[in-house]
Amino acid sequence: MARTIVPFGPQHPVLPEPIHVTVTVEDEIITDAVPALGYVHRGLETLADVRDHVQMIQVVERVCGICSMIHAACYVQGIEEMMGVEVPRRAEYLRVIWSELHRMHSHLLWLGLYADAFGFESLFMQFWRIRERVMDLMEATAGARVIISVNVIGGVRRDLDEDQCKWVLSEVEDVEKQIRQLQTTMLNDYSVKKRTVDVGVITKEQALELGAAGPCLRGSGVAQDMRMTGYGAYDDMGFEPIVETAGDCYARGAVRFRETLQAGEIIRKAIAGLPEGETSVKVRGRPKGEVITRVEQPRGELMYYIKANGSKNLDRLRIRTPTFANIPPLTAMLPGMELADVPVIILSIDPCISCTER
């Protein structure tokens, strides 16, 4: 059999961001895959040396363009824990609402890109059409479409009044209805299944050993979701993780699709239980110590390690993003598959490269 090395990326029609994978194929079957990064490395972690710990909120929001709010929520959660700040319950609820809106729009974005990867253009357009309404929801409630910048140390900057809550509820319901209309296409369609079932399989043991995170892990049958730890107001949401067992691209897609609908449910619960009160507390002083915080991003578990010494700038800020954890599993998914499946498999981990390289 002839051995050929095919460079995949960094520029490829299915890739929203640059990642390079050196794929070794024998005829059409992949035998080896080696990823290479470094096309969008910015070194944002070192910006902590020149920006103070409050300004860093806006910096960490820009680690990822899609789940920016959740990055900031994780960061402020860590700083609050270090400083012993008691965040008002209303602020925690509002953080949940915006987090879930972010999850919704991120998953819709991914579902669209995924449909594009297996060549289903009309499905792609339809998902993005729905996503636009979620973006409008965020702009109307928080002031911006993606980088909504609502988190401050000690709470949130914006509040939702009663009219807005009602409007959000009705919009979310409508969005859910539209997503449900696509459920049969996404989960039962012949051509979708043909491209995704039994493609890029990763077993439960492999996923755990390779440190997979998020839908990659849950798609392989491991019920692990940081929201189960009940950070913020998630302890009141009665959260149950969504798990699929097959471990293939279809399972990962199904997890994300169902999570999109679940996000709507959580928003409804959060708005129904939204407590009265302040949205932020005044925080004085500077953080000192070291802390690890973890939250669940649309792509999986996000971990921040923060070390501070009581001065204006942080000592060390380390961000471990979910895609960073999902790249080793990707190298295990590819061997044995056909070259034509590479785009679908790479997309199935929901790669966010600017997150990965920071």
Binding site: G43, T229, E290, E301, Y305, F324, A325
Partner: protein
């Protein structure tokens, strides 16, 4: 606030990590913290049933660290990253990008070191003159 950590050394790191793997822990990541001009802290983070377990190891920057990528393959990425950012050397790295995972070959600085700048090839040069 202090972080709960088990302190390990360079001699025991591979054994400790292997023990973690046998206990069914999932490798989350590793953090490198610049301590002073000479030393860095390596923190290994593991997860089991939503609980984080940390291992801490202080090492001098100039000396190579045993790689755990032989135990947890997933560690190759973060070890390569640390090599880029802090100029650390890892012994037995299964997939070695040679300090070019993020950076270009001509970059000689180790950008994440706060205290002074060490050259990646400083060690080789020092050995050459000695």
């Amino acid at each position: 606030m202090e972080l709960e950590c088990t302190t390990i050394t360079r001699e025991t790191v591979v054994d400790e990590v292997t023990k973690m793997k046998n206990d069914g822990y999932r490798f989350v990541t590793m953090s490198v913290v610049d301590l002073d001009e000479e030393n860095v802290d390596l923190l290994y983070h593991f997860d089991k049933d939503l609980e984080v377990v940390n291992l801490r190891m202080a090492v001098p920057k100039k000396e190579p660290v045993p790689s755990i990528s032989g135990v947890y393959f997933a560690a190759f990425l973060i070890e390569n990253e640390s090599k880029d950012h802090f100029g650390l050397e890892f012994d037995g790295l299964v997939l070695d990008f040679g300090g070019t995972l993020y950076l270009e070959e001509e970059v000689q600085r180790t950008p994440f070191c706060k205290y002074g700048v060490i050259r990646k090839d400083a060690e080789a040069a020092a050995e050459g003159t000695a």
